[in-house]
């Protein structure tokens, strides 16, 4: 089982690096996961998307689609791809400590 260590706490990750227990998440965890995934610094826009992602998931148990992210997160689609070049929905979910989105859209 892959793990990450932060302030002496050992956090379990799934095979793709998503946090197993979403309740263990905090901002330092997000920063560490982001660094491990090629985003060394999280800007205010990154945080907007990450917080939107996490809140949507906590509210209805589902990660938003890229369409919803573009419309409602406060960052448009072009900029989402600039912030998260390897896939905004997947990466933002990973940084937000929620499971990998399973939709096709």
């Amino acid at each position: 089982m892959p793990t990450m260590t932060l302030d002496n706490a050992v956090l379990e990750l799934d095979a793709e690096g998503f946090l197993k227990d979403a309740t263990q998440w905090n901002e330092a965890v997000a920063e560490t996961i982001a660094r491990d995934n090629g985003v060394p610094v999280l800007t205010e826009d990154h945080w907007k998307v990450i917080r939107f992602m996490r809140q949507a998931w906590l509210a209805n148990g589902q990660a938003p689609t890229i369409r919803t992210l573009g419309k409602e997160s406060g960052v448009d689609v072009k900029n989402l791809y600039k912030l998260f070049p390897k896939g905004p929905a997947k990466l933002a979910a990973k940084f937000a400590g929620i499971p990998k989105p399973h939709g096709c859209i």
Partner: protein
């Protein structure tokens, strides 16, 4: 003697798809969406995507046309509507409406919105030169999301590279 794998063979799972080149050739709703979903899905995985619209597939990116794309209700056995009924006036509009309603619930964008979303995601959209000539079209007839009109040769050149794949829809 035992057969061994030559050293040059790389296991397929270590060669990820890095680029998809999707051809959209049909002008019905069910002919257009799969290509768009594949293109958007590629970008969401960080995969480079080119979309080449040819023949009636160009309907997806033509101004004034792409908001009126309908489901084919004739010659579409998957719908399970008898051909004679499928041809009745209004049938295609009705089935299209039902399908669009369902897609809206699933947060699937309309075709014009989807095309723009895909372009915004960094995918490149192209119209086929041969088809453009055949239908007497020009660059201005296409929505802004379309990058340019290119030949088949240009398309193949663009589609080159290890990890690049061509998908025909």
């Amino acid at each position: 003697m035992t057969a061994t794998m030559p050293d040059t063979v790389v296991p397929s799972d270590t060669l990820p798809i890095t680029k998809v080149n999707i051809i959209v050739s049909k002008g019905s709703l069910e002919g257009i969406y799969p290509g768009l979903i594949m293109a958007n899905g590629a970008r969401m995985e960080g995969i480079e995507a080119n979309v080449f619209f040819t023949f009636f597939g160009m309907e997806a990116v033509l101004k004034g046309k792409n908001e009126h794309i309908k489901v084919a209700t004739v010659g579409n056995p998957g719908l399970h509507i008898p051909t004679m009924l499928g041809g009745l006036p209004g049938m295609s509009t009705m089935v299209t409406h039902m399908m669009q309603k369902k897609m809206e619930q699933l947060d699937i964008p309309s075709i014009p919105e989807f095309v723009q979303l895909i372009a915004d995601s960094g995918a490149k959209l192209y119209a086929c030169k041969a088809s453009v000539d055949m239908f007497d079209l020009k660059k201005d007839d296409f929505v802004e999301a379309v990058d340019s009109i290119i030949t088949v040769g240009d398309f193949y050149e663009m589609a080159g590279g290890v990890g690049s794949h061509i998908i025909f829809t």
